[in-house]
Symmetry: C2
Subunit: 186 residues, 2 copies
């Protein structure tokens, strides 16, 4: 299981056996039942969380309403960017929407390893580059596409999500209300 996970990381940026073994020592995993949390509100996000099995969503509260920020499917990942980098209590909550198996990649240990495993440093660079591109694309999408365009894009690129998730989660993920989403869908 960790080995499959290390394969995924190696796909991003190749890892030597030495680095794989070094990382392996610091990986842990946890079964998280449906409706329980990977990261709770107010906790500091000290890991990047990989969904080995199951499904998670990341959200926060805005005027008492839950705003979904991210869905992580199998082989997907999630972390609270601000909490992770600034080591502050997280406003984001990461919740499992199905019984899940989550792999914890700890920040502290990963950073420590990056000082004497150059391929781990490269992996980190790749992970953050990748996140940065995604973040940028989402920003453009929110700023310049209409609600309908964003919905159609989601429908095209991640139709599985629409099967699994209440529409209200989709709505806030797209930056609109449930009512508007309902109307878009006709």
């Amino acid at each position: 299981m960790f080995s499959a996970f290390l394969d995924i990381l190696s796909d991003l940026s190749p890892l030597s056996d030495k680095s794989r073994n070094a990382l392996l020592k610091h990986l842990s995993s946890k079964r998280i039942p449906k409706d329980s949390f990977i990261l709770k509100h107010g906790e500091v996000c000290k890991h990047i969380y990989f969904i080995h099995k199951g499904f998670a969503r990341t959200f926060y509260y805005k005027n008492g309403k839950e705003i979904t920020e991210w869905f992580a499917d199998e082989k997907g990942f999630s972390f609270s960017i601000t909490s992770y980098f600034q080591e502050q209590p997280s406003k984001l909550v990461i919740e499992c929407l199905e019984d899940s198996e989550v792999i914890y990649l700890p920040k502290k240990e990963m950073y420590e390893l990056s000082y004497n495993h150059i391929d781990i440093a490269q992996l980190i660079i790749k992970m953050f580059s990748y996140s940065l591109m995604i973040s940028q694309e989402r920003m453009d999408s929110i700023q310049f596409e209409t609600a309908k365009q964003r919905y159609d894009k989601l429908l095209k690129n991640q139709p599985e999500i629409l099967q699994k998730v209440p529409l209200q989660y989709i709505a806030s993920y797209l930056g609109i209300t449930s009512e508007t989403l309902s109307r878009i869908r006709n």
Copy 2:
């Protein structure tokens, strides 16, 4: 001049003299006159550009209109995220709004150095982490704040920019039309 620049980088993540000297060999700088481009449309973004002196804005075309994505003041930086990482022609244009002095930090050489200078790898990690946080914050801002809130925030945090830049640039940066900005300002 490069030394002042290396100091700025060192502030982000400390650099040994060895690494400073290694980087120094690959730095270049260029005077860019007002209204000329640091990065042209269609060019691949092969550097991160630091404004040593002057002022630049990054924008792209959307339905024939210029949409400002970023302002870089003195000690600020800019690059086209998508073009830089995917090595594709840039949709973004980086333009100097004043006579400027720009320092070019080349991707290829920086990445090469990162393989045997661990502190340079750490610097890259810091730069991208920082960019990721900024990107995230802007996304939240665009998604959840009204145009007025975004304007007031800009007014508070970067009042200099309002002095220097035509309001239409500000408007597109805030994700609104000039007319709306004009009304917000009363």
